[in-house]
Structures are given as structure tokens and as C-alpha cells.
Symmetry: C2
Subunit: 300 residues, 2 copies
């Protein structure tokens, strides 16, 4: 038995011969070194200064930038090389490219390596990876609920995940020893972990993130050109996330299409009800409707 580390993370039975204490993880590959991947590296580095972070990206310029900024320690132009000899691989690409990279990383990494991700959608990624039992065994999906409308590793910060929820999810093909390993790794980032099924995650995220993002973009699109100079702080806050990357959000809609469509339908029905309340001058009902929104907001 090894001694549990000093932090409050869960204790797990170690694999035979594997060191799993203060030195873990020795090497971490970050596949896709953007805002989130970079922030994960910077976050873990705070309490694991000896860990080596290896970055991989399809775009060499991003890798050079991350190296120059000290976000990663080494670069690699091959996934196989990046993952070789790693304890953890974090796949931090747009969601539509996560599953194939997880499968590739699982094949290229040591048998005890944890493969995890940062994707905003989960069910389809888990289902795609489940078709590859060797990969599914090593994969615990993760979604750190943290981000920014900015993108790129030049915006990565060490405290991005501090106190933020990290949703963890796995399927039945995942080896149980990997669940504790994932919990341990994500606790090292400063985040607070919780477990959920991929389906629940995707339904909840459609309601609290994906559809709100689309609504923010909708509000932005509706400004008449001649009224742009009049926008105030309310509009600016509502539309902040509308500056997010269109391709990244298209990929999220692809991956979570069903839950997003259901949630858009629910939104549409609620909007119709609001239109009736206002057009029929049901002012008391409107005050109640707004009051309920205020209560939810103040409790969240």
C-alpha cells in the first residue's frame, strides 16, 4: 500500500508497482493547447511543479506560443509521441474531435494512463469511445464548467478552474480504478468534482449553457444597426458569450443536438406564453413571471 497523499482527494488502491502519490502525475499530455487545455496545465503545475506537460496541436504556431508562455514544457508533432510514457492525457480539442483522439491516445499511452477530456458534451463522446473497449477502459470523461468567450492559450490562467464544478462521467466499460484516478487528477486543478451520467449532463448543460449561449447570440443578432450606440451594460452582459468561437459552438450543437432541440422547443413554448401575457396586458401575471425569474437568479 502507498500512503495517501496529503490532500483530501479519494484514496484508491494502487496498481501493482505504480507510484501514485506526490509524484503523480509525472507526465501529462495536453492534446489541443487552447484556453482550457492550457489552464489545466497551469493549474496542476501549481501543486505539481515537477510534472512535465507535453503539448500537441494540429497548429504548430499554437504550440510554439504555449511553449513560449511557459504553459507547457515540451511540444510534440505526433499524438503517439506526446502520449508515450504519460500518466494522464487530457484531450482539450473542440468536442467533435475528442472521441477519435481519446481512442488514439489510449492506444499510444502506457497501460495505467488515464485518458480524460474537457468537452462540453458527454453522451456522444462516451458512446463513440465505448466502441473501442481498450480505449473505453482508460477513459473518464470530464467537463470543467469554466471558460471564457476568449480562446487561445494566451488567455490560459492557473486559477480558471478554482472552485468550479468539474462533472465526471464514465460508462460501464471504464475500469473502476480509473474513476478514483480521474477524481484525483481533476482535484489537482482546483476544481470540485461531481459525478453524473452523460445523458443527465447533456440535458442539464443544454438548459444552463448551450441554449443560453444560443439565446445570447440571438439577442446580439437582433440589434438594429442604428441602435448599436445605445447598448448598455445589461445588453453587454447578456451578449458577452456571443463573442465565443462559432466553430466550437457549432460542434457543441452537433454533439448535443437532441437535448438542445428539446430545450429550444421548451424555450419557444415559454416565449409564446410570455408573448400572450404581455400582449393581453396580464400585468399581474407578468410581475409573477418576472418575480420567479428573480428568485431563481438569486438562488443560483
Amino acid at each position: 500500500m502507498i500512503t495517501p497523499s496529503h490532500d483530501d482527494g479519494p484514496v484508491e488502491a494502487p496498481e501493482s508497482g505504480a507510484a501514485f502519490g506526490q509524484e503523480w502525475p509525472r507526465r501529462v499530455a495536453i492534446l489541443g493547447v487552447g484556453l482550457l487545455g492550457g489552464s489545466v496545465a497551469l493549474a496542476v503545475r501549481r501543486i505539481r511543479p515537477q510534472t512535465t506537460f507535453i503539448g500537441y496541436s494540429r497548429t504548430p504556431g499554437k504550440l510554439d506560443q504555449a511553449l513560449g508562455l511557459g504553459v507547457i514544457d515540451q511540444t510534440s508533432d505526433s499524438i503517439a509521441e506526446a502520449c508515450r510514457d504519460c500518466d494522464v492525457v487530457v484531450v482539450a480539442t473542440p468536442v467533435d474531435r475528442i472521441a477519435p483522439l481519446v481512442v488514439e491516445a489510449a492506444g499510444a499511452s502506457p497501460p495505467t494512463c488515464l485518458i480524460t477530456d474537457v468537452g462540453s458534451t458527454k453522451a456522444k463522446i462516451l458512446a463513440d469511445v465505448a466502441k473501442h473497449p481498450q480505449a473505453a477502459r482508460k477513459f473518464v470523461a470530464a467537463h470543467p464548467i469554466a471558460g471564457s468567450e476568449k480562446s487561445g492559450n494566451q488567455h490560459a490562467v492557473a486559477d480558471l478552474l478554482d472552485g468550479k464544478i468539474v462533472v465526471l462521467t464514465a460508462n460501464t466499460a471504464t475500469d473502476p480504478a480509473w474513476l478514483a484516478r480521474a477524481e484525483r487528477f481533476w482535484t489537482l486543478t482546483g476544481g470540485s468534482t461531481c459525478w453524473m451520467s452523460g445523458e443527465d449532463h447533456d440535458a442539464h448543460l443544454a438548459a444552463i449553457s448551450h441554449v443560453p449561449h444560443l439565446v445570447s447570440a440571438l439577442v446580439a443578432r437582433m440589434v438594429p444597426p442604428q441602435a448599436r450606440s445605445l447598448v448598455g451594460s445589461g445588453w453587454r452582459d447578456i451578449t458577452r458569450v456571443a463573442a465565443g468561437d462559432p466553430e466550437m459552438w457549432t460542434a457543441i450543437c452537433q454533439e448535443n443536438r437532441q437535448a438542445i432541440c428539446q430545450e429550444l422547443q421548451r424555450l419557444s413554448e415559454e416565449l409564446t406564453r410570455l408573448q400572450q401575457i404581455i400582449s393581453q396586458s396580464q400585468d399581474e401575471a407578468l410581475t409573477q413571471w418576472l418575480g420567479e425569474a428573480k428568485r431563481v437568479k438569486e438562488q443560483s
Copy 2:
């Protein structure tokens, strides 16, 4: 002729015998001493420290609080007494009570007194005041596009209007000399004035403020209870204004019902189009749709 004051505000011909320089306004009544009314007083006080601010409210507790905080210098429990001998009266109540207070203040104030307001809607207030020619002559409507989801004079701050747009509007019954007076007063708050018809104001504000507010409340209302702990910074920004006062926003919907209904209809049609794009997997169209939102956001 008097010498124009040192600031860059417009120069106007003075009324016979009226001092209209550094000493103006000597006395300002604030009818409704909340976040906005209080902030106007604090703002003007910065460059007119000798000006006396008299507060009136239906709620004595709010007045005592404003006096205690130094937001106003005197209190009054009567509109007639508050407005007597004032150079400016600012009506800063919820929008549904502005027009009758403007009429009452116009009757109770000296002949040269400017009556102005801070309402988020304009056309109906102007139309209601226009039925009273003596009041309409002295009234220039104003909407400082500044605020907060907070309310109450304890949140009033001197710089709330700094650099913010103040939309000014008047109708044909307004005496032209009052237009420059209104411009002068609102420039003293730190705001930047612009002129617009009441109808244009209301249509623009429905698009950039009133309907976005309703949408923010809609997003807040749609959080499933079990997902509340997962909300992130995007959701928090989108729903910030949903914490606003339900009665104040009901009054805004009452006063600007027609423009808001039109804008909600436009929103509903755009939402239907978005639902089609996503449900039919038109991913290229979705990227373009999101890209247009990003462009508008970044230009605003």
C-alpha cells in the same frame, strides 16, 4: 448676455434676468430617490457642490436613508414643497408614475424650471404630458442608459452616468429654450446626450434593452432545479439583469407594450429559424449564424 460657462456644453440665450452660469442649477428636486435619482444627484454635485438637492419619495424611509447617506440635502413630504423655487426637477420614479408627477411638478415649480425624467420608455410619457400644455412646455424627457440590477439609493454612485448615453426627447409643445437647458443639465451628470424621437427611442430600447431583459429572465426561469449547482459564468452574465425589480419591469412593459410585442415577435421568428437550422443539421448555416452574432457583438 451672460458668459458661457467653462464646460463644453451648448450655449443658449438666457431668459431675461435669469442667472444661467456656474450657479445653475441652484436647487434641484429629485422625485423618487432610488438608484438613478440618487446617482444623478451625486453626479451633478461633483461639479456643482453648491447646488441643493431636495428629495421627495412616497416612502419616508427611503428619504431618510438618502439624507443620511448624503445623497440629498433636504427632504420633503410634498411634491409642491419640493419643487418650489427649483431650477430643475428630475422625476425618477418607475415609468408608469412619471407623467402625472411631471404635470404636478410643472404646476408647482417656477416658470423657468426644467422638468426632466429618467424613464426607460418615452413615447407614452410624452403623449400623456402633451395633454397638459403648461407642463409640456417645461418638460424635456430623458433616458440615461445606465443602471444596475440593484435598486435603492444605497447603491447610488456619482459615476454611474459617466460616459453613458443620455437620450433626450421632447415634443412640439416643448419651449425650444428648454432643449438647451436639458442638454446643459444632463451634461453636468457626466453623460453624453443625443436626441431622438420618442417612437425611435422606444423601438430601439425594446430591441436592445426591454426584450433582452425579458430573455434574460426567460433563461433564468428555465434552469432545472437539479442543474442549478452547475451554472457557470456564462449563465451568470446572461441572467444578471433577471435580478431586477419585477414591478419596475412590468411598468416598462406596460408603457412600451407595442414595441416590445413587435420585438418579441421578431425574436420568436428568429428562434424558429434557429430551431430549423439546428434540427435539420445545417451546420454551415449555424456557423454563419453564430459568426454574425459574434461580429455584431464585437462591433458594439
